[in-house]
Symmetry: C2
Subunit: 367 residues, 2 copies
DNA sequence: TTGAAAGCGCTAACAA
DNA sequence: TTGTTAGCGCTTTCAA
């Protein structure tokens, strides 16, 4: 009577299908489908019989057959650089939450920042016919990459899906994408202003891959703020490279050893800031007494550093959630004005403990 | 000639299928399938024609139709508590790497520690017919949960898939699962030994959900080490609760304020250790001068704390990779002894800076 | 309220 | 080397 017994009875292992259930319940498979989906009236007695058969047989519907017949996959795809980087993992968490709240499964893949791999992954998601494919994080402004991306956007639109660019700039007006972004340049402008207001003039800009859209925008905001106050940005005070903690640590160490005469550091993201902080602490540089430090993104760890990091808050999890909401909202452009396919989430300066007024004389190595 | 033009020509949007490609290339769809899969010889000229048609039409194979016809999904499923917790995200990263190295996509879902939800997610993965479903992290020793899990394992085995328990204890000898684990109890024993060897006697055990297998094993190792030296473990020096940073912070704070007269803390994992460290630092407790601290897992952040944390290294990413390898290795038990369905990865004590000999008189609040 | 039957888009014998 | 032909397991008209 139990599942196990029945299985044993069956003998040769044969995947249980809907018609097995139908046979056992003495109905047609169409009826089984109806009780499973609950979208058509079925007599209570029939329903019970079917459910009992399902239970007895340990039947689990085949999602692929279902997808093929109904062309509804109940899944979303998401592509990130790296699954352990908090920037991405918080966004993934948001996506997963919203997906699962709407009964969808989440296919996630890591591109490791490789453009070709990213395109390849999108193609695989297209194969999966996911309801949306969400590409996260900055991209490089390569015309070829944009073109390929735009092509994918069209293909996806063609199959009733949506390409969402989350935290990544548009790939062209023509491409049918939706966008969830935030004002990178503005946020950078704001933190820089904050530093300037405290009296800082020689500020080091540290980190971020050269050419990555996110880097470009943050650096631009930094530059604009400096220039709007008539301050120069000497080339030796702009050190780009990467977004990781290790980069922050190494680069900051080298720079400090070169006696840069700076009073503040603008790290391109919080991870870089954390690394830079390590390097400073290791050299006896006090933050913020000797040198002030700001980051970007406000990943939760930032408030757990010593000192707590002043940074720009970006609602990562929300961005993830909004990405799937936006993708799923069928803005029927066929009828009149379509709802905007773009969401710009708010960003704000979070003042904590890593910024103070500059010292009279900048910190110098060799105590 | 271009993709776009052709699409425009088609008129009403109709998903491009294999027979569209076949027609355009003037061959049968079987031939298209052959060039796509490259598993049968196809004349070069034919191959070229087909590829051109694919290109022209912007054809992307439907993975569901493929899965249905071939019963091969090229996907693996993974279920974790929380995607942003480094313990899990490193394992997910390992799984994703290995999956994608073998041409598979990765379906990931978060259970938020909810047992029912976990079972539900497994069922959804079964629906997807993933090549493996990997369940990560400690479980509660609930007979009902074990039974349900064992049932799923059987179902999965029945469809040629595998349930992998990664960092989670067996659900019974009978259940056809594979296991990737590590010696939780032994690791806990080892760090505790280390603390004892330094001279510590009053050691606080902090964190870990009560009853969660991982917690249980770590606490057991702690107890065994203490007892093997004839030391008591007073009930007020065992504070369980959760695995998060916040718990570590709050609980440690309260305990310190109660003047516990301890010389060391064994945090159930690194996150708890990090939180406890914050609480200590905030109260002017110096680690390790006043109180020593150890953690568990060796998440990368641990070596970035101040002081760097002494902890037990667990190869999280490897565990993820091994989980999919193990699941995919078709150990044909039909023919003789099957390879062991269990991998126990090595664990080791990592001595860093957070442990020292105890002070003559234990730290007490109120400076 | 239920059943019959025609696909969904692809793979895999089996023939040719 | 290629085509024909059955399905894979489900949904969804269309009838009854």
């Amino acid at each position: 009577m139990t599942t196990q017994d029945d299985r044993a009875t069956v003998g040769a292992m044969h995947t249980v299908t809907m018609s097995d259930v139908a046979e056992r319940a003495g109905v047609s498979s169409a009826t089984v489908s109806r009780v499973l989906n609950g979208n058509y009236p079925v007599a209570q007695a029939t329903r019970d019989a079917v459910n009992r058969a399902i239970e007895d047989l340990g039947y689990t519907a085949n999602a692929h057959a279902r997808a093929l017949a109904s062309s509804a996959t109940h899944s979303v795809g998401i592509i990130v650089n790296d699954l352990v980087d908090p920037f991405f993992s918080y966004i993934v968490r948001g996506v997963e939450q919203e997906a699962s709240a709407t009964g969808r499964l989440c296919i996630v893949a890591a591109s490791q920042g490789d453009v070709d791999r990213e395109i390849d992954l999108i193609d695989r998601m297209i194969s999966q016919r996911t309801d949306a494919v969400i590409v996260v994080g900055g991209g490089y402004d390569d015309p070829r990459a944009r073109r390929r991306m735009a092509e994918r956007a069209r293909t996806l639109a063609g199959i009733g899906s949506t390409l969402v660019l989350c935290g990544r700039p548009s790939v062209g007006e023509q491409a049918p994408t939706k966008i969830v972004g935030y004002d990178n340049e503005g946020g950078a402008f704001a933190v820089t202003q904050h530093l300037i207001a405290q009296g800082h003039r020689r500020i080091l800009y540290l980190g971020g891959p050269i050419g990555l859209s996110t880097s470009v925008a943050r650096l631009a905001g930094f530059r604009r703020a400096m220039q709007s106050h008539g301050f120069e940005v000497p080339p030796d005070l702009v050190h780009q490279g990467a977004f990781g903690r290790r980069f922050g640590h190494t680069a900051m160490g080298e720079i400090l050893d070169g006696n840069p005469q700076i009073t503040a550091v603008f790290a391109a993201n919080d991870l870089v800031a954390a690394g830079a902080l390590d390097a400073m602490t290791a050299r006896g540089v006090r933050v913020p007494e000797d040198i002030s430090l700001v980051g970007y993104d406000d990943i939760p760890q930032s408030s757990e550093l010593t000192p707590k990091l002043t940074t720009v808050h970006v609602p990562l999890e929300d961005m993830g959630r909004e990405s799937v909401r936006l993708a799923l909202s069928r803005t029927d452009d066929a009828f009149g004005r379509h709802a905007d396919g773009e969401i710009i989430v708010g960003t704000r300066l979070v003042e904590r403990e890593s910024v103070a007024a500059p010292r009279a004389t900048p910190w110098a190595p060799g105590r």
